[in-house]
Symmetry: none
Subunit: 234 residues, 2 copies
């Protein structure tokens, strides 16, 4: 997964093991802003501070049941909620969904299924039609930052635009950052097949990239040469 969801999630469950498991899962999926609460009280504190975009709520909590908390929350804001429950009681499921929950999942559940259901809810609630909550990755090199979705490299001095070819090369290097990318692989990424005479051209583009990325283009710190092999981004 290569995208980042700018979507904060609040996770309410009293089982700390499950909390960390789910946090890890969602983190891997690209959800950056995760908070957890072990009780209704903690959840209320979290919500007072800042409203999340999604709440995952266990029905059974030490200081009250999730349904009441749910109704409290919905009084204030229409935040999507996914219920978790240890008991597969039809009554509970119907109650939860009947109150207006967005989904209801019974433990034990497949980790992957939780992720997918969370994705489905987020997509419907926030991403229908638009993709603005999904930001493509950015790359930080010392003082400067490359924003791939804007094709610019930003620094304190201002923004320098990147051209189409430069962006293709940089993307390829970024996808393999740390590793050496061969000339052939780079040419292929930019021109497709039939790149017989482009090796020299590639060098010129690399030079131009260095002028935009490096403080001393002739003594690169980030976009390094691997003599006889290719280039490497760190």
């Amino acid at each position: 997964m290569n995208h980042i969801y700018e979507c904060s999630i609040l996770l309410v469950d009293d089982n700390s093991q499950l909390l960390s498991m789910v946090t890890h899962l969602l983190g891997q999926e690209g959800y950056q802003s995760l908070r957890t609460a072990g009780s209704c009280r903690e959840a209320r504190e979290c919500l007072a501070h800042k409203l999340p975009e999604l709440i995952i709520l266990d029905v059974m909590l030490p200081d009250g049941d999730g349904f009441s908390l749910f109704q409290e929350i919905r009084m204030k804001a229409d935040i999507p909620i996914l219920f978790l429950s240890a008991r597969d009681e039809d009554q509970d499921r119907l109650l939860g969904l009947g109150l207006g929950a967005d989904d209801y999942l019974t433990k034990p559940f497949l980790p992957r299924e939780l992720i997918l259901r969370v994705n489905a809810i987020v997509r419907r609630a926030y991403l229908s039609g638009r993709s603005s909550l999904v930001s493509s990755p950015i790359l930080t090199l010392g003082e400067r930052t490359v924003h791939f979705d804007q094709a610019v490299v930003a620094s304190s001095a201002g923004e320098i635009p990147l051209t189409a070819k430069e962006l293709l090369i940089l993307k390829k290097l970024y996808e393999n950052r740390g590793k050496i990318v061969t000339f052939d692989a780079l040419c292929d990424a930019v021109w497709g097949d039939g790149y017989y005479t482009y090796e020299n051209t590639l060098m010129v583009h690399i030079r131009r990239l260095r002028e935009k990325l490096e403080e001393e283009p002739s003594h690169p710190k980030y976009l390094l040469t691997a003599r006889g092999i290719g280039y490497r981004l760190i």
Copy 2:
């Protein structure tokens, strides 16, 4: 539940008994516009005629599987889909949700649960516009303000109307404001697939938009060109 939303539903299943049962249920719940199909072929006919707001789709169909049909549909429009499946196979469930389904229900299911899950999907997909979470569809560019719902751009000098195509392009850019939107994405948003000769046309529309949005259309401040990539709204 007494809500009646003008929400047409297409039900695809080869079990006629189940079809009538669900139709009855949904009818009682207030869903007025229900259509049914017993096979992929019938479903395609229905869809060609008119797109519904929700599709309930059995995975097993006499002339193909629901997953393929699902992908066909999603290629064209982002209609919410709820899968039904006779087998409680984890793999199927994960596949369905992974493809982007909104929910997945295993037979036999509680009639009430189906209703509630349908309600949940409809609520998220179509009724959340009134919630405070969704930002109002207004765009401010310096002196001027774009009102998407009225298709006009207002300024101190007066109101300038936007044409249909201009609005589509601007919406797409607005949904991804800050990011570069590729030509392909823009053409796709305006004309759908098969935009072979439209790139030039797109440029003309962009020019028109600039004449309505910018103070100096030839030196745009808001609707910027990313040479070789696309356009970008800030």
